[in-house]
Symmetry: C2
Subunit: 207 residues, 2 copies
DNA sequence: CCACACACTGATACTCGGTATCAGATTGAG
DNA sequence: CTCAATCTGATACCGAGTATCAGTGTGTGG
């Protein structure tokens, strides 16, 4: 609501605006400090007050930047979702929907390859913290909403016929495979590339 | 004083443990009252204090029966998970893993068919309340742990080789299909049977 | 250049879920 | 009957998230 409006604002306007730049700077600062505290003490043992104090911001203002404590860590997932949707739309039309989804997820596998250590510690925290898992799942549901229309198009589904659940089922299943692969990737400490695990996971759907 | 003790005596006899039966009774009473309040006012607009007061129980004691507010509504999912796992184990050995999972889920489709109205309002509440979705997802992860070993066996996977993610990927995907089907079932107000939607959802994995 | 409208900020107080502690009552076993 | 274990309510506490409000800057139009 205000955030999306703000985001739309930001992208619609050429000169960034001083105010918004300050906002972006503060936001980045919060993320950085919070990340450090989370890795030092764990997510649950870090309070929002502590983050706010360390950044030099009031608690109330911090909640104006991030709706929830979890969003400080998971905020970037919004952008990831859009990137995956773009990658999916860019896949050739004659590609199988499942394969197109698999390739679209390379947006993520590439990100993880670029900074494996960070990705590992990030995913580790994600998987051992219930409240983060919960919020992460919510974000993935919003990914689903972005991806389903394109999958429906590729399946030749009637857009008016909402009762055709194949697009949402396939998309949800693919995201479940992504989670499985991520879990396994953390479990093996990153020794097997995420891309390989994801291949195996999504391959298991057809066997 | 001795009269109440005598009365308790009267009803307590066969199953060892009067205490546990009292506990079960109270627990059932809480579930019933909470269910009513949730459907009347919505989940979020019903406080734990209100439930406790209505049952005639202290807030602290209520949390001794149910670890979280969500568990009052979702507690029965534990049993469902075990039932699905049993049903899966009972499927013929030569059945395809995916088909076996599909059939095991009939434990749920049959439950919903038995009381469609209740199931619909229950799922409706589940889907429109984020905190319930979150907890529900956690429960499904525990289902996954119950189902994966049997799927691994059917896939002929080496139990020692934890890096084989096919079992967990397939199981997670199947559960994702179950969620998709449930969502669609609610969306169409139950006009299409859940079993049919589930068939379509899981069928979309192989297409 | 100024004035006004608006957005942002910190402070404060509140709600609600969940935890910890403690003293008293109830129960079951020896 | 007694004693230990358990259950209970009361109370106080914690942390996330919300609401309100007055003060203070910022962007903009005159």
């Amino acid at each position: 609501m205000p955030e999306t409006a703000r985001a739309a604002d930001q992208s619609a306007r050429k000169p960034p605006g001083l105010r918004e730049r300050v906002r972006a700077t503060v936001q980045a600062e919060v993320v950085e400090v919070a990340h450090r505290l989370f890795t030092e003490q764990g997510f649950d043992r870090t309070t929002v007050d502590q983050i706010a104090a360390e950044v030099g911001l009031s608690r109330a203002s911090l909640f104006r930047y991030f709706g929830t404590k979890e969003d400080i860590l998971l905020g970037r997932l919004e952008k990831s979702g859009r990137q995956i949707a773009e990658a999916l739309a860019a896949r050739p039309d004659d590609e199988q929907p499942r394969e197109a989804l698999r390739r679209a997820f390379d947006v993520l596998t590439r990100m993880n390859e670029a900074a494996p250590e960070q990705a590992l510690s990030y995913l580790r925290m994600l998987q051992e913290t219930p409240s983060l898992r919960a919020r992460h799942h919510e974000k993935q549901l919003s990914w689903q909403e972005l991806l389903v229309p394109e999958i429906a198009r590729r399946l030749g589904a009637d857009p008016d016929q909402a009762e055709d659940i194949r697009p949402s089922a396939l998309t949800a299943a693919a995201l479940a495979c992504l989670d499985s692969a991520s879990t396994a990737w953390v479990a093996c400490e990153g020794t097997v590339p995420l891309a390989v695990l994801l291949d195996r996971a999504m391959g298991a759907l057809t066997e």
